[in-house]
């Protein structure tokens, strides 16, 4: 996107009211934020492909002794609790963004740490679930159904893990005094990624776990 010099055609891109940080753009949206939204739009295609593959292969779990589909082995109560706490991590994330926008650093750190903790609990739950399936004898290479299941949920897990790294990095920057109110948009961009990971799970939870 082309930066422009005429201040009458643009608004400040950063969270600072006076616009003394960041670039002015013809859209009034910072390049970083626009890039994140474009990236998230492209991620819809990635997860769309993985979800479609799962739908096509979900009943092809082989014909041998071990022939159960993923749906026959889910612990729905356990996954429901994991889904709920990932959903609530979106609340703590948005509260972190809100905190930095009003310059409340203590609240920012509390909510960032809480979000990272909730994300870590979700990942721990996913690792536990994978381990249970492996104990039953169903691994990534067992059959098309299990390959598609592990690829989809595994890719999502990697996204959550990256999100946790981003959250902890933001927390470290805040603790070292390198995030202030002018950098609120950086926290917002991390938040966008986190919320996206959450909405993808909203779809996976329904399509993969709830619909029989």
């Amino acid at each position: 996107m082309t930066d422009i010099a005429d201040p009458h055609l643009a608004v400040p891109a950063s969270g600072d009211a006076h616009g003394d940080h960041g670039h002015v753009t013809s859209t009034g949206i910072s390049n970083e934020k626009l890039a994140m939204w474009t990236f998230l739009a492209s991620e819809c295609l990635l997860f769309g492909g993985l979800i479609s593959t799962f739908l096509l292969y979900k009943n092809r779990s082989g014909t041998g002794e071990l022939h159960e589909t993923p749906h026959e082995l889910y612990d729905l109560a356990f996954t429901s609790i994991s889904s709920f706490e990932l959903l609530m991590s979106s609340l703590t994330m948005v509260l972190a963004v809100s905190a930095i926008q009003r310059g409340d650093h203590r609240a920012l750190r509390t909510w960032l740490a809480t979000t990272a903790l909730l994300g870590s609990i979700f990942i721990a739950g996913q690792v536990y679930e994978f381990k249970e399936f492996l104990n039953y004898g169903y691994g990534f290479t067992h059959s098309p159904a299990w390959s598609a299941f592990f690829a989809l949920t595994g890719f999502h897990g990697v996204h959550v893990t990256l999100g946790i790294v981003m959250l902890l990095s933001t927390l470290a920057l805040s603790l070292t005094g390198r995030i202030g109110r002018p950098q609120a948009e950086a926290v917002e961009i991390v938040g966008l990624y986190w919320h996206f990971v959450d909405v993808v799970w909203v779809i996976i939870f329904t399509v993969v776990y709830l619909i029989k």
């Binding site: 949206i29 626009l34 739009a41 096509l56 959903l87 994330m93």
Partner: protein, 127 residues
């Protein structure tokens, strides 16, 4: 600085940006989270209902799946609109995101239809 004073400052900042939108408050976020939690609980309860005991008609199956997809769509839309601020941000961001989403939905519906997912559950695929 009190919370009210902070909120007033933020509102003033947004006015300086000229975006003309109301700024969401923490109270709104908590209310939305409660609604999402309730919808999730209904979703899980819905999936536990004894649908098979009530018959095996296609209409009943479509109602069961349609209900789950509707609740999923609602949750997706609410998180994107409120938590991701699409409702309060530039419309350009909404267009970019939903264009990507729409493209993904159309492309993969076509893929699923090609492999006869809607008619034979993808029977044209190798096992």
């Amino acid at each position: 600085m009190s919370a009210d004073a902070n909120a007033a400052t933020i509102t003033a900042d947004h006015a300086a940006h000229g975006d003309g939108h109301a700024h969401p408050t923490d109270k709104l976020f908590v209310k939305v989270a409660i609604i999402l939690a309730v919808v999730t609980a209904v979703e899980v309860a819905w999936s536990y209902l004894p649908w098979k005991d009530w018959g095996d008609s296609r209409a009943l199956y479509l109602f069961e799946v349609g209900g789950l997809l509707a609740m999923m769509g609602f949750k997706f839309f609410v998180v994107a609109s409120v938590f991701m601020h699409l409702k309060f941000d530039s419309k350009l961001l909404t267009r970019i995101f939903y264009a990507g989403l729409a493209l993904a939905v159309v492309v993969y519906l076509a893929v699923l239809a090609t492999f006869e997912f809607f008619t034979c559950g993808g029977s044209t695929l190798p096992n």
